[in-house]
Amino acid sequence: MTGKRLATGGRIDRNRPLRFTFDGRGYTGFAGDTLASALLANGVRTVARSFKYHRPRGVVTAGVEEPAALVELLGPDASGNRQATTVPLTEGLAARSVNCWPSPRFDLGAVVQLAARAIPAGFYYKTFKWPGWALYAPAIRRAAGLASAPDHPPQGVYETRHAHCDLLVAGAGPAGLMAALVAARAGLRVVLADEGVEAGGALLSRDLLIDGAPARDWVAAVVAELAAAPLVTHLQQASVWGYREHNYLMVTETAPDRPGLTARGWRVRAGHVITATGALERGIAFAENDRPGVMLAGSVQTYLHRNAVAPWRRAVVFTNNNSAYAAAADLAAAGIVVAAIIDSRDQVPEDARARVAGLPLRAGHVVTRVLGRAGLRGVCVASPDGAEARIDCDLLAVSGGWNPSVHLWSQARGTLRYDADLAAFLPDRAVENVTAAGAAAGALGLPDALASGAEVGARVAGLPAPAVPQASDLPYAITPLWQVAHPRGKAFVDLQNDVTVADVELALREGYADVELVKRYTTAGMGLDQGKTGNVTVIGTLAQAQGRAPGEVGTTTFRAPWTPVAFGAIAGQRDGPLALPWRETPVTRWNIDRGAMMYEAGARWRRPGYFPATPDEPMAEAIARECRAVRFGVGVYDGSPLAKFEIKGPDAAAFLDHLYTNRMSSLKPRRGRYGLMLTDDGLILDDGVCFRLDAARWLVSGSTGHAEALHRHLEYQRQTSRPGWRVFITPVTEQWANATICGPQARAVMQALGCDFDLSAQAFPFMQLREGHVAGLPARVLRVSFTGELSYEVNVAPRHLPALWQQVMGAGAPHGILPVGSEANHVLRVEKGFLSLAHEVDGTADPHDLGLGWVMAQAKPDHLGQRAVAIRRAGGGVRRELVGVIPEGDTPLPEGAPLTPGGQRVASEGFITACVRSVVQDRWLGLALLDNGHARHGETAHVRLQGGQVIPVRVAAPIHYDPEGERLRS
């Protein structure tokens, strides 16, 4: 390791060595390293293989923009496709290269390189067509994807939380720190988020002075002051990755300081946002510019200053701008031979020259080609007159200029303009409440960055800009150079997706002339790095080829996320049983203890489907047992989830008449009626019973699954379409739990429970309501029936339901009472031909089709849906109408199976909505929606199944049991 680390400096802790493995070999680094810096310090050059051509690739950058050094982390918290430059080194870390076998240095996949010339951009559109893509796809797919997907969840948990602030500052470089400081001093609520391990941004990569002291001292002082400010939340390792409408930003903290917490997602609602996100360096496209050892110059500085890593002996610097001069000087200061500074500009500014006094500088020269495969051996350099010379080196530090990080700004739909002086796209007009500051706004030098941060921070706080600390920096100047033409070798613009200048030119030649088409034809910018170092080079290359300005070519769309985010940090605590809310009634536990098969039954309730007597009793038998109990003895079911509303007010009666198809205003107190509600386009919204409690109060019930839709509908009608009416709506679903006792013995059970009102059929008939006490508990009892039997819906406060339930089971025991699940209820309602919205209403049926024409009170003035039903019927189209069906031969009919004319394989004329094993008729009975069904009772129709089986059925009235309704009225 000696010779590859500097003796002093850097943000590493030399007293804390860390062991790690890479591709199975053991290495040592230090606390403060990234995986990339530790690999460099260990002399590892080839870190991965490229996506398409399997070319060896090394570390190119030092941050989130890294296109090449992709690794897979192993171990309990494995994750794939990680940039080695953003993985903090930890003890025992294990990683391996992506996309190579058996090793990155010797990769069998590299045979593709032999065919590289035959596979330019878009080659697969032109080939693999014969005999068919299916033949080739599997092999091509096998080559896809870089790392494997994780195959088990991580050990820790995730959390998401909300935050609110006056100001969110993205980026804690000098500009962001300055802005946050000014705003914090003004008393604003500030969130400062930066993706780095520590604050400081570009300052960590350079040896600049602020107020005469090392810049990091200033950073430390600002961080300390922010930490002490009560209204400031300062997050590091926190990527601001999404900028949503109304200044809602997504921040993911990847190392939250809480035990067991893997990552935390913040949703920040900010009054104002400052994007102080800095600038990213870009490359230059020249032949073989992807070889390990070719790095971006600013990143080389990062390795020198942050990690004290200097694994190089001889460096060449290639640039078109001033910033690389600082890099060259830093290299020299670290004891590395700077063999040459190659500057494509004919005129190098004097201040830049002064910065590298004594180092060999070749103005007007370019690097044409890189020598060496897995390791850089030298470069070819061309002079202005075209003469080529070779310079040996093991590092080529390149700077193609700087791109302000406008991603967040652009996500917020801020516009961009191309600045010819900076040769970069800059924020132009904001749309959201956002301002860019520092390098992200084009203020590339430190004094400007500090001033810009202070100015913008003060502006948000409504104050004049304060004085800023003293600093100096080499001013930035650039003459753009996008690519260096060379007849041999590949010049990459996107290292990750292996896109070359030739690919871009091919796209143009073939007519894919728009920057968006170039992107899609070549896949440039579509990798994990989303082209952070390459996209602007593509634009520049295009502009040059088309003779246009880069600003006219424009950018592709910047989209979230800024950097890839783990899905776990987006869903947060919504995990396992908390993936969706769930609801229980007061007897849910009892049901489960009783062995019920529970399932989701709408509106997030879990309900019993049926109650097997023994764990292995077949479902059909359990259901039949429950059905028989109701038909011949007594059963009880938990009807608590039924939607219930109390409606009151001087205009309540008129309101209900407007909503229901039939008249409710004529009900007398304590009486109820079944009713349907339609949407205004004549489709069925819900059905249920409506009771009048007293002169001005009503109790409306609806189906479980529609409770929220119904609530919404009621309030919508009340508030928007009839705002003048005085009506109050109070949901009471959760105030009244119920036990519904049903079956011929129901009255006996009620009597045994003890009621303080007369239960006789004369005194308390069907469709009436009584308030009083049942089993000593305050109760509201409704005589409604969804089973066709004598039935009492005993509503009590939920706190009383367990007690009531116990007593019902006790009182019913002599009659063999059984708890009844939803499945038995389904059988019972089909026998009776009662409607189930989920089965019989599929978006076309109207009340007439369902045989409920009687609920369409024709004489009634306008109600919702009335006109639409009339218009639809006036069309004269064939109606699908509800009928009963009796399978000839007594076989079950699959629910949903079509009926076709004569059972032929032609368009259907209806379908089976439900089919059950009837306990009263001891045979299969069904319901169907059938074209003109009402006129076809007595006919034979045909169910046709997949595979061709035809089942003849007799069409009948949709009521198979007790057509007169004597039992439910008994």
Binding site: R161, R258, R583, F728, V732
Partner: protein
């Protein structure tokens, strides 16, 4: 525990849902009601009960359960005039008390409300959304009361426990 909080389920409380004009309610209920809060989404208590103003013409009266019968007797829901609505809803909400120095962290995980003291005063009370369902948040001396529909109480118990770690 990841966070320094205490989460306590509260026993059932007497709750009455009141709708109508404030003057009309005051006339009908008289001394049974605490003073009406003067700002939306705030609460006012009188030692006997707390009145929360939670929507236009909508209040919830909260008191100890042992006052339920007495309140019902004074408020007489069934007899109230047509332009008032009074409904006993005691069983509708299940309350959890969240206290401790990091109670606000749990609330920030649960719901999108800005509960900073400058935005949500010591008398703050409002419906919002917590863990995906409708919830009532009320400021409490050293923390918050959070209530959801009773049927969601088991879910909320679990969600709170997991959030706290």
């Amino acid at each position: 525990m990841r966070y320094d909080v205490t989460i306590t389920p509260l026993p059932t409380m007497a709750l009455f849902d009141l709708k109508g004009r404030a003057e009309a309610l005051r006339d009908w209920a008289g001394a049974a009601l605490p003073p009406f809060p003067d700002r939306p989404n705030s609460a006012c208590g009188d030692g006997q009960g707390i009145l929360m103003w939670l929507g236009p013409e909508h209040w919830i009266l909260r008191a100890d359960l042992d006052r339920e019968q007495a309140l019902e007797a004074t408020l007489r829901p069934a007899e109230a005039p047509p332009d008032l609505s009074i409904v006993r809803v005691s069983d509708t909400l299940a309350f959890f008390r969240i206290t401790g120095p990091e109670a606000d962290a749990i609330l920030a995980i649960a719901c999108p409300l800005d509960l900073h003291p400058t935005r949500f005063g010591p008398d703050g009370a409002s419906f919002t959304r917590a863990f995906g369902v409708s919830a009532l948040v009320a400021q409490y001396t050293e923390g918050f009361d959070l209530a959801v529909a009773r049927s969601y109480a088991p879910m909320l118990t679990r969600a709170l426990a997991e959030a706290a770690g």
